[in-house]
Symmetry: C2
Subunit: 348 residues, 2 copies
């Protein structure tokens, strides 16, 4: 089966099929007991990310167990800053943390931008193993962090309530910010092309911290580099998920990305009336809906599907699935999407 | 000088004066050395909140030192859950934390809703002392947390990356959520009326976590109760600051609130074209702009002022001033606003 004959890929290319394809952000990892068994047998999260045959195994699990229409490679957006010589630790229940952060132009000049294929070969290796294991059943999604989100981690050093260091950097040192963002962008383009060459059928940019920036900054420091990336990636369809950046919908609509991911705050209507009417949309059930009863999940999922009307749509949550969600509830979401065939009015 | 003759109050009532009035969220506390001297002489943050003459002293400081057009009473939105028998601790550099949280309907039935005047008399006492000290120089702003934000703290027990407990509660137990929100609303109405009776000239609802909810939930569980409050408060003008809730602009525009606060993500244009054209708008410089040079702050402030055009406007930041901001930079922001007189075209 060629990649483009898969429902996810044909939908990403703008063809509305008989139903919406479905996958779940963070489906690989977090919730499946089968994942936790492997994860708990290892030293830490990073060992799993860096061990290709295990990363491949947990990538395939949700396809087998949950019945998703796509796999997404198990990895982390922070492998890119690490390849650039800013290593991170993943602190249990706290999230990522960097020993060193970017404070000055000098720090930026010291970053590595070479040997990306070698340094991230564990990811491309995992992709190759996954593709074999999937043997064409479903397509494989590759991904990277959007440059401004990677910049945010590099400057902030981890999570934050306000991200005031990263946001402040743009006010205090915009020229240095542009130099850093260009370096990240160049590495990210290389990295995504390597993922596609290894077998990724679609690539998604996760701009997790987009919504922390003001609209003018997000345009200048965020979308400028997202646009460079989606324009450079001609080998596979692309998705931008700019969490919280409702203000950027018109610019997202004008980007070269095939798919725009919506979080649970942004309705299909809002995206369509703010310039995204020519895009495939992805999303956007509130992940907390999966804490409800099976009946309520079914109802909320159907409402969500209907809200996209005749627009080509890839069903997903509006954020990564939360760790305390039951796998059965995720399955209920997936099965509801798969049972929802479009009416004639919708399948235009 | 009567309250309504003050620039802030007349603007809040919809009369555009010769310039925008200006104050800064979190101006009392956080940044002034004079504040830190008092704060550091005490056991903790709560001792300052609960000691009327000291709370009054730090309330007046920014009027004297920074030249703001209003004082805002030094307090915390979490005095309300505490008065309802859910005490909190303010953990240095981490934020608030509750020993007990709301998990069941039983927990909700155990909450106190009586003796609010007594239990929060330290706030009304601080307001009375402040009013004397201000002796009519500038008006005094009172405030409370919006019910859904207080609910969020009560269920979550503190800050969170996802607020999935509080958001999940709305999916799992909507009836109990309404019972809790109604209790919080009843107490909040009482509390704000007490503040006004003690001397507050305007009251603001801080809906700090509005932006974490999905639009349907925010309408059902957020705005419903905000509307009860602003409709019940007829004694003074009201402001709603629903941080992150861009999706609620049309409902905010239809509320009885006089003033709608905007965060740094939501432009004046967006508010005006989404139903808030009949409201006074407050905001919304990115607080990180105050990390820039004096020249850049002046430029960004003027741009912000111009963006509100002929709309009645109260200048402010789009979020509370961050603790590591220099007082001189805040002063630069305030002085730029005070020097910016409206042109004839704007002062319609």
């Amino acid at each position: 089966m060629s990649a483009s004959s898969h429902l996810l890929i044909s939908t990403a290319l703008g063809q509305k099929g008989h139903r919406a394809p479905v996958w779940v952000m963070r489906q690989a990892g977090r919730i499946l007991p089968e994942y936790l068994a492997i994860r708990n047998s290892l030293r830490d999260f990073k060992e799993l990310v860096e061990t290709p045959h295990l990363a491949a195994e947990v990538t395939v699990q949700p396809v087998d167990i949950l019945g998703t229409d796509a796999a997404i490679i198990f990895s982390d957006i922070l492998v890119v800053p690490e390849a650039m010589d800013l290593p991170y630790n993943m602190v249990e229940k706290k999230g990522p943390s960097f020993d060193r952060t970017i404070k000055t132009l000098e720090d930026i000049h010291l970053l590595n931008t070479k040997d990306i294929a070698d340094r991230l070969s564990y990811v491309t290796e995992a992709i190759k193993i996954t593709k074999k294991a999937l043997s064409g059943r479903v397509p494989l999604i590759g991904f990277a962090g959007a440059p401004l989100t990677i910049f945010t981690y590099m400057v902030e050093g981890g999570g934050s309530k306000t991200f005031s260091k990263a946001r402040g950097f743009l006010f205090k040192n915009p020229e240095a910010a542009h130099i850093l963002l260009q370096k990240i962008t160049d590495v990210t383009i290389q990295y995504l092309k390597l993922q596609i060459a290894a077998g990724a059928d679609l690539v998604q940019l996760f701009d997790s911290w987009a919504g922390t920036y003001n609209p003018a900054h997000y345009s200048e420091f965020g979308m400028r580099y997202n646009n460079q990336i989606v324009s450079a990636i001609t080998e596979a369809p692309t998705t931008i998920f700019a969490k919280g950046a409702f203000f950027a919908l018109p610019e997202l609509g004008q980007s070269q990305a095939n798919v725009i991911g919506l979080d649970w705050h942004t309705s299909a209507d809002q995206a369509l009336s703010n310039g995204c009417q020519n895009k495939v949309l992805q999303g956007n059930l509130d992940p907390c809906a999966l804490y409800g009863s099976f009946k309520d999940i079914e109802k909320a999922t159907k409402q969500m599907l209907s809200s996209f009307g005749s627009q080509p749509h890839i069903a997903n949550l509006g954020h990564g699935v939360y760790p305390d969600t039951s796998a059965d509830k995720v399955k209920c979401f997936i099965e509801t999407v798969k049972a929802h065939y479009f009416s004639k009015a919708e399948a235009v």
